[in-house]
Symmetry: C2
Subunit: 282 residues, 2 copies
Amino acid sequence: MNIINKVADMQKISKHEKQQEKTIGFVPTMGYLHEGHQQLIKKARASNDIVVLSIFVNPLQFGPNEDFEAYPRNMERDEEIAHSLGVDYLFYPTITEMYNGERTTIIKVQKRVDVLCGKHRPGHFDGVATVVMKLFQIVMPDSAYFGMKDAQQVAVIEGLINDYHLQVELIRVDTIREEDGLAKSSRNVYLNDKERLEAPYIYRALTSGKEKFLQEMSVSNAKDQIFNFLSKNTSGEIEYIEVLSYPALEPISSVKPGETAIIALALKFSKARLIDNIVFSY
Amino acid sequence: MNIINKVADMQKISKHEKQQEKTIGFVPTMGYLHEGHQQLIKKARASNDIVVLSIFVNPLQFGPNEDFEAYPRNMERDEEIAHSLGVDYLFYPTITEMYNGERTTIIKVQKRVDVLCGKHRPGHFDGVATVVMKLFQIVMPDSAYFGMKDAQQVAVIEGLINDYHLQVELIRVDTIREEDGLAKSSRNVYLNDKERLEAPYIYRALTSGKEKFLQEMSVSNAKDQIFNFLSKNTSGEIEYIEVLSYPALEPISSVKPGETAIIALALKFSKARLIDNIVFSY
């Protein structure tokens, strides 16, 4: 495995691999790799000649009061994991390398962001879209692997790919969960013992909300169900519970069979803000 | 010469040409090709294996009260010109082809646009940056040719290329002028006879402003000189006269030898809004 720190080096490598008609699978991450990331890497490894993993904690997608500085990092362990899973190139640039010179533009996301996390993290998805566009231009992947835990991120990146006719196929990868159902996340380390015991109720709330929705075909009944379930079983503060179309993320005004929906929520514990969702056709 | 209407076809062609290690020179235009455009095509032809010309009147860069509908078009003549100058591919998509499905993002230009035309055409350069990003992803050029008459556009696109690490070299091409000095522009057809006689004073005003600047190294004296010159010799309404650094387009707070400046102005005649500029090192 080669570690690449420079944008120009990564571009030269990708150009060369593509000239050899190799396919490039790309896994963009912020590091601190958990099993969710590992699943993305495995999927990329199974379907491509070359696998590129990027680790870059992108300041542009953190709000002023968010956890950019505190975001967990462990490069040594990440390198071992990447190596063991057969990553060919680990792209690990500095902030100055990625944001060189004066930044003159930003990609402003105008749809799919006035709901869910986008509503509560203004500018977050602009930062995501901007850095993903940069990474795509650097790595030039054929396929890019994203986890469905961040379902809104997937929806935004699918919009980005369509908007700019990017020749990248986005591969949606199912959320990886602990045995008790808690979605794997770098931020789970922030949970205290009591919260860790409560956290599995997030997924149970989602599945019970989905059942309610399928039974009664009512958005508000499903939301009530989840709200009551979470209030009873956790000490977390509910930031949002939403039932929307997917990936357009619009309100479901009339429930039409054959459509795809997302039920998503964010729950704030003392130090950890956790998100989870279920996407399903009905 | 092949005329290509579909994004997917153009991408297939560019991919194929690049796999053959051909260099692609790209000239993006809105059509109604004048000698300025022709100069861009000639430059592209001289330095590349393949020349792609695009003709697309981009609705996103026109304001609600601007001339999108009235913008001059003459596809038959453009085809002849493109063919005669050795263009290999004329990319000529419809609006629906370029803006397919729901547009979810826009590239917001945050620097270099609060001055000159950007100040007077809010959103214009967002539309330009967005469509140029799209075109670059479709055509995948090695070099792209832009005329310096639109010097602010060049500055914005240079920022875009840097921001996203685009593997495109922007080639600045000098403004082509009529014998009397008037910069070639598709919008010159809007001038009436009297205005056409006055219009050459725009360039004379710029050169005299540059001389003043070089003599006295004073931004305000140069601007006064141009203002008086234009007021005396034309019936047009002065929209702006500015002297700025180039390409950052910032105020010149202290005049330091070795820097590059732009003197630019916009003049409104009854139906035509004309722009022109001089960029020079001092």
